[in-house]
Amino acid sequence: MFQQHIGKRSKKVKNIVERGAVKKFAEAIGDLHPIFVDEETGRNSRYNRNIAPPTFPRVFDYGTIEGLNLPNKGLIHGEQTYHYERPLLVGEEIICYSEVKNYFEKKGTHGEMGFLVLESFGEDEMGKVVFTSTQTVIITEAVRKVLIGW
């Protein structure tokens, strides 16, 4: 039911790796390491500034993919990957967007299940990819029935 969305992309959205957001995020995952939050440690590091934790891109705005209407309930997060060319630097600008990479259905223990693979991208100001991530969302039969009923 999402096959027709494969290949669709969101419009690019400008994000900033904000110091306050990084600190709040690091605190929420219990990881207030000085490399993320202490300015002096950042200055003295090989990065010359603070960096963000690897799962920080969860915070970014990736824009919306037109026509892709996912419910905010009943989805199961199955898998998640991140690939980095380098760590994210605090204060830098990252241009983000996402794309429907794949959709397929499989019979599972909870009936027919849908697997939606979303790929997200983060680029620097020069358009060079800094990170990519993929998220596999499992859509259970119960949820799919509701969606079809729309």
Binding site: K24, T55, R58, Q80
Partner: protein, 135 residues
């Protein structure tokens, strides 16, 4: 702390055991991440979804697991981090974070990583490819 380059296959990073999961922690993660799915914070919404109680965001656990590597960023960085979400994390669960070096290939050290609960069940499992700088 031993440098990642000096680890041998089968060596483990020091485990980290988290405090029992509490609601405020998940509320903070909701706020910090922007993931306000109410099954992570509100009992009645979790019940409506057929769950025995609120569950931690999978990404909260994945975020925690990466901290095994936070002291090594001067030496290298996490190039790839892949996770499969295997089990739910409930309030008061005690999660232990683990990483074991599985393979070395040039500058890349591949770790098998996981978070297990107090019953020894894996709640998330995956790999970290740590890329060491050589300059």
């Amino acid at each position: 702390m031993v440098a990642i380059e000096e680890l041998h296959i089968g060596d483990e990073l020091e485990d980290i055991q988290l405090e029992p999961v509490d609601r405020l922690t998940l509320i903070k993660y909701a706020g910090a991440s922007g993931d306000y799915n109410p099954i992570h914070t509100i009992d009645s919404e979790a019940a409506k979804a057929g769950l025995p109680g609120i569950i931690a965001h999978g990404m909260w656990t994945m975020g925690n697991l990466a901290k095994l590597f936070s002291s090594y960023y001067q030496e290298g960085f996490i190039q790839d981090y892949t996770i499969r979400f295997k089990g739910m994390v409930f309030l008061n669960d005690v999660i232990t974070l683990k990483a074991e070096l599985a393979e070395k290939n040039g500058s890349i050290s591949r770790f098998e990583v996981k978070a297990v609960n107090q019953n020894g069940n894996e709640v998330i499992k995956g790999e970290v490819f740590f890329n060491t700088y050589h300059d």
